[in-house]
């Protein structure tokens, strides 16, 4: 283990400890808000897996929605317990992604972006259209999980206990994502992003590995969706519309997608920033627009560059210095 990795683990443990203290010092409102941050971090980190292969997707938020709808239906129709709906949400989201991957992964660049948008929006409109999915109002009244083992009973309806549950799940997911990225799989993803043709030439089936990234990231998006459904107790189709897909993309870009820590740090900072914009709800999209433009023009590697964390944590081979955002992305027909 290199010293960089040690430092990384140190920071991670401090961060988790700091998160764990939140319910002890903050009120219920901020505890629920922290739960939202944890869910957003899981979304951004899983989104980054697709970005690692050099593609930008508009489907990730709807895949989160697939997880959330699965959980809502499991709870409302069958009264499924939390662990069952959690697994079901991940599996169904991954399955939907697997089916979509067959047409979508034939495309790259702008075509992939539009393909993911088309598929995702069609799914979202089906939710709005059919009564089975609750129509435009979706589902509400999803009851919080309740644990009863012998003498111990925990009601996760309380914000603090649900926060700990969500935090634990998110931390486990992040560990899995991190170790995948460090493994051969992660190296292949980076290779595909930077040297697509070379990767094919040395015998890597690039489409297969892009498919793996797309499906695995969908599974984590599904988990984030299940957590979201329980956290809010409701699911509506509008929560997964194009605006949220745009925001996810913007946050990933502003945070910086080169390193594992960029999106996490970006997620925390931007969620805090987002909360402070609550007084100016109408101006919010415009402010994000300006931030996005400025970041793209002057600061293409995002927040991670500012703090210098990229040098500390990221694997050295993965950081070409000229690498501005998506600079090595192979666009369409360019």
């Amino acid at each position: 283990m290199t010293s960089n990795k040690k430092a990384g683990f140190g920071f991670a443990i401090i961060a988790i400890a700091a998160a764990a203290i939140v319910p002890l010092v903050a009120g219920d409102y901020y505890v629920s808000f922290s739960t939202e941050i944890a869910i957003m971090i899981l979304m951004l980190s899983s989104y980054r897996m697709v970005v690692l292969t050099g593609e930008w997707s508009f489907a990730h938020v709807v895949l989160q929605g697939v997880g959330a709808y699965t959980a809502a239906i499991m709870v409302k129709d069958w009264g499924a317990p939390f662990p069952v709906s959690l697994v079901a949400g991940a599996v169904v989201a991954a399955a939907v992604a697997a089916v979509l991957s067959f047409p979508l992964l034939k495309m790259r660049g702008f075509y992939f972006l539009m393909g993911t948008f088309g598929a995702a929006e069609a799914i979202r409109l089906l939710w709005r259209k059919f009564k089975y999915f609750g129509g435009t109002r979706g589902f509400s009244g999803i009851s919080a999980p309740y644990l009863e083992v012998g003498p111990i009973t925990i009601d996760f309806g309380h914000p603090a206990s649900f926060f700990y549950l969500a935090l634990a799940i998110v931390v486990v997911c992040l560990l899995v994502i991190w170790s995948m990225e460090q493994s051969r799989l992660g190296q292949i993803w980076r290779t595909i992003e930077q040297q697509d043709v070379l990767a094919q030439a040395v015998g890597i089936d690039t489409r297969r590995y892009r498919r793996i990234a797309f499906i695995i990231s969908a599974a984590f998006a599904g988990i984030a969706g299940v957590l979201l459904a329980y956290a809010f107790g409701s699911v509506t189709p509008n929560r997964f519309n194009l605006n949220f897909a745009l925001y996810l993309m913007i946050w990933a870009i502003v945070g910086g997608t080169r390193s594992f820590y960029g999106v996490i740090l970006g997620g925390i900072i931007l969620m805090g920033f987002d909360e402070s914009l609550r007084f100016a709800d109408e101006l919010r999209p415009g402010i994000y627009g300006i931030i996005l433009i400025l970041v793209m023009l002057f600061w293409p590697r995002g927040i991670e560059r500012l703090v210098g964390l990229d040098k500390l944590f990221a694997p050295k081979a993965a950081l070409p210095d000229s690498g501005s955002l998506a600079a090595s992305t192979k666009g369409d027909a360019r």
Binding site: K106, M107, G118, L125, K129, E282, G286, G289, L297
Partner: protein
């Protein structure tokens, strides 16, 4: 029968408006290889400008129309000079920046004019014509006529003038065009102004018919992207043809079922084209 004719006229109008929007989008993709997500917002700005200069300041519809074209063309020039030029090396950069522009324009409109504004633009062509026993508002026919005139003018511009030749040369082969002494920067600038101006013109034409809102560009841009994918990205003729086909298809499904079904069908159609024939109706074969 009456319903059928009415739907046909509506789809002709929808085709005209979307052809104007889509041609600009295809033009910019052809010349600069940029997918402009803010194009629908330029349409929205065109509608607001037509209201502000035409109705609010009392200039009349013609003044509003000219102002809409000029304001949007200026925004287009701004985007080219301050954003696209600086992001040449980054293939996804311009696309992502246009998303930023989309959000900024949308918010600016909401901030300046309010979200639930009830702005009315008076058409210079009041009343309705009677065709086969059906009342068709004159303005709808005016939109169709104006679109034909504008698209015809664009064709003449691109086919007969020196500027048109240069623009098409840049679209075909940038390096060869540069070697011929064509200034890529100047052509990009003019193409961007032209493209944005066409979107603004479409917005001003539709302003008396549709409800003006800061978010009116969103369905337009979605339609426009579906259409240029159907038509073959970068192909102007393909874009116009696809605009007519798609708008007719969409209007008929909306009329006989509902607009959600029509949207789903449209999105599935786009996916089908992307999978089966990614070059679209008239685009050149390219790897996606």
């Amino acid at each position: 029968m009456q319903f059928l004719i009415e739907t046909l006229i509506n789809s002709a109008m929808a085709s005209a408006a979307s052809a104007l929007v889509v041609v600009g989008l295809a033009l910019i993709f052809g010349v600069m290889r940029i997918e402009n997500f803010a194009h629908g917002e330029l349409y929205m700005v065109g509608a607001y400008a037509a209201w502000y200069f035409g109705t609010s300041l009392g200039g009349g519809y013609a003044v509003g129309f000219v102002a809409a074209v000029m304001v949007t063309a200026m925004i287009g020039v701004f985007m080219e000079v301050f954003l696209f030029r600086r992001l040449k090396e980054n293939p996804m950069g311009p696309l992502i920046v246009t998303i930023g522009v989309l959000l900024v324009l949308q918010t600016a409109a909401a901030w300046l004019f309010g979200v639930n504004s009830n702005l009315l633009v008076d058409s210079p062509f009041a009343g309705a014509a009677s065709i086969a026993g059906i009342n068709v508002p004159w303005h709808r026919l005016f939109v169709i006529g104006a679109a034909i005139v504008l698209l015809g003018g664009l064709t003449v511009l691109l086919r007969t003038t020196k500027f048109g030749w240069a623009l098409r040369a840049v679209a075909q082969d940038k390096d060869a065009a540069r070697l011929q002494g064509i200034s890529i920067g100047a052509i990009s600038l003019l193409a961007m102004a032209l493209s944005a101006g066409l979107a603004g013109a479409a917005g001003a034409l539709m302003a008396p018919i549709v409800r003006i809102s800061p978010y009116m560009g969103q369905p337009i841009i979605i339609t426009a992207f579906i259409v240029i994918i159907l038509g073959g990205i970068g192909s102007l003729e393909g874009a116009i043809l696809a605009a007519i086909i798609y708008s007719t298809f969409f209007t008929f499904i909306s009329a006989y079922f509902d607009s959600t079904v029509a949207s789903i069908a449209g999105l599935c159609l786009m996916l089908l084209v992307l999978v089966v024939k990614p070059s679209g109706l008239m685009g050149k074969a390219q790897k996606v």
